[in-house]
């Protein structure tokens, strides 16, 4: 009797375990830092979520979650309410994500742009946006008449500095006289500040501007002022049809679909992903024909070479502002150096805010 009971319990537990694997109620949660209608960062993550939904997996999202004390509660609520995989899509969610992951070992967590994987159920992912910056640099160097490129930067973190450097190096290659001017706005999303910064750069002689912030304000200012610009995160062409040469697109959809299916089928493993043009996590919007068909062809070739690995964004020799060598001739920067990049290359004006 007792033995039978035990057997019964074990078989029920086993069945529960099996059914848990091929879970029909498998759900994926997303935490966004901005509104889904920002036409930039969060908008693109939500496009990725829609792709997961289209693949037949249920999804949930919470938008505009402040990166303060509230993030932990939202992530925990998603974990508690039966979400099996949770994507937290802003750097500021790094510590809360790891904290909640500790208490929910059966739930998988994916944190964007962070570096902490304190538990085996936390993965991190980001995109090699700098490869896109290399393409922008090539175009900017060819298109500028004043030889001044304006750059609106958000925070002096490696990711942003990497973008500035990649762009400057590529622009120098085609036009050794260019200078990169930078305005730090210390925000990811503030249309007011971003447009002021764009205007300031144009006033200082920049005739090509680009930004590492999320709103459409800079391209709109550029359109009005009649200078060239680039879209960020999503295709912003419709906001500045004449001015935009192309946009760097963050395409999270394939990754989100792949990871969601892996988590559902039980093949999900912890990893640190850093995908670029090759895998398609970084994509380019159609090139503006105003730059001439020759340049378009050049850039398309460069895009192919970057994707195939024939060309690397950081190929030596690379010097810092003082002229010290950073990467020797004939070699390329490794991922470790890229991940911790905190100096400007030669040709960038000003100092990194400390």
């Amino acid at each position: 009797m007792y033995k039978n009971f035990l057997r019964y319990i074990i078989s029920v537990l086993f069945l529960l375990g099996v059914s848990g694997q091929a879970n029909a109620d498998f759900k994926v949660g997303f935490v966004y830092v901005g509104p889904t209608g920002d036409h930039g960062w969060t908008y693109q993550h939500d496009e990725g979520r829609k792709a997961v939904e289209a693949a037949g997996i249920k999804t949930t999202y919470v938008e505009s979650v402040p990166e303060g004390a509230d993030a932990e509660r939202v992530i925990r609520q998603l974990a508690q309410s039966g979400h099996d995989l949770i994507f937290t899509t802003s750097f500021g969610y790094m510590d809360p994500t790891n904290k909640v992951a500790k208490d929910f070992p059966n739930v998988k967590f994916e944190h964007a742009t962070g570096y902490k994987r304190e538990h085996s159920n936390v993965s991190t992912y980001s995109a090699r946006f700098y490869e896109g910056r290399t393409l922008l640099g090539h175009m900017a160097g060819k298109m500028t008449k004043t030889n001044v490129i304006g750059y609106i930067a958000s925070f002096p973190i490696p990711e942003v500095i990497r973008g500035i450097n990649a762009m400057t190096l590529a622009a120098q290659k085609v036009n050794p006289d260019i200078k990169t001017k930078i305005v730090w706005v210390f925000t990811w999303y503030d249309p007011g500040k971003e447009s002021e910064a764009a205007q300031a750069l144009i006033d200082q002689g920049a005739d090509v501007i680009m930004q590492h912030t999320d709103s459409t304000a800079p391209v709109q200012v550029a359109e009005k002022a009649g200078v060239w610009s680039f879209g960020q995160a999503s295709d912003m062409q419709r906001f500045a049809p004449k001015s935009i040469l192309t946009s760097i697109i963050d395409d999270w959809a394939p990754y989100y679909v792949e990871r969601s299916i892996a988590a559902r089928d039980g093949t999900w493993k912890q990893q640190d992903t850093w995908h670029g043009l090759k895998e398609g996590m970084v994509a380019m919007a159609p090139y503006n024909s105003a730059m001439g068909s020759d340049l378009v062809k050049e850039v398309e070739q460069l895009q192919k070479d970057l994707a195939s690995g024939k060309t690397h964004s950081f190929t030596g020799p690379i010097y810092d502002q003082k002229g010290n060598i950073l990467v020797a001739e004939g070699s390329v920067a490794d991922d470790g150096m890229l991940a911790g990049m905190n100096v400007y290359v030669k040709g960038v004006e000003g100092d990194i805010p400390q």
Binding site: A69, Q80, F155, P158
Partner: protein
Amino acid sequence: MIKIEKRNDVSPSIYFLTPILAIFLTLFGGGIIFYVLGFNPLEALKFFFITPISDLYGFSELLVKATPLCLIAIGLSFCFKSNNWNIGAEGQLIFGGIVGGGVALLFYGHDGFYVLPIIILSGAIGGMIFAMIPAVLKTYLNTNEILVSLMLVYVAKLLLDYLVVGPWSNPEGFNFPETRQFSESARMPVLFDGLRIHAGIFITLITVFLSWLILYKTYLGFQIKVSGLSLKTAKYAGYKGKTMIIIVFMISGACAGLAGVGEITGPIGQLHRNISPDYGFTAIIVAFLGRLNPVGIIFASLIVALTYLGAETAQIFLQVPKYTGQVFQGMILFFLLGSDYLLFFKIKFLGLKKNEL
């Protein structure tokens, strides 16, 4: 013809019942909004107001969220009761957080029971000093305290930005705009394992009790009340108006500073750019919803905190847009002010007289 007349006698029981009426009207209005958005109103309201606090964790989160709101609103009640319009509690909160956080970083790696009390005290003093700026400018230079206190919010925010990006940023943090995590000795003790409710709630409760004592049992409280009712009477009675203005601002700033230090040593554990989701502004709604009364403010802070949690759960379970939380906060204030108007004023519908035709 419509004529609006001031009511001479307002029944005190109705005065304290109108906030409850306002909440019911908000629920009703919210139900209509949910219906228009295409949700089942009853189900949406359930997810909004009941689901978030249906378990222990949710209840603890409610208290975590209500703690700073209650603390700031209590401080604001001193200012508002005496007709001093301190709109800058958000700035005082941030400045208190900056001072408290600075001390916490100074004590990085130190153990000892004295660390946390020093941090808390310095946070309160920080908020207090920051609130004294509009108060001193008002009393000695006759500036407008609404404007000065509001503009100082931006000063505090920019100062915090500068510190976490530059001198105070985590040396191992890849230049990300945040400080180190504070040492364990600088953190508010958590009351129950697995829940985030922390010792800050005791500070809030003690503050509520003390403010009740000051407002209703001391001469200072009486002065505050009289000045609020009539500044001329207060002057005639010989009260020192200037000192009182500075004192109420100091109390208010200290409370906001405590709220700031409670957040950074409690649920956050470090300084970064988003230490407050505008608690200082939301607390203004809390103060008025609680009728500037310490006990009323406790209930009001719980209700407003619930609108935050509710917006999150409603989005998780029904994908209701998150901004409905702010809509609810706005509706509560709107209905409260609306019913207040009817409470203090009579609307008379007069028939048209024949000779006017």
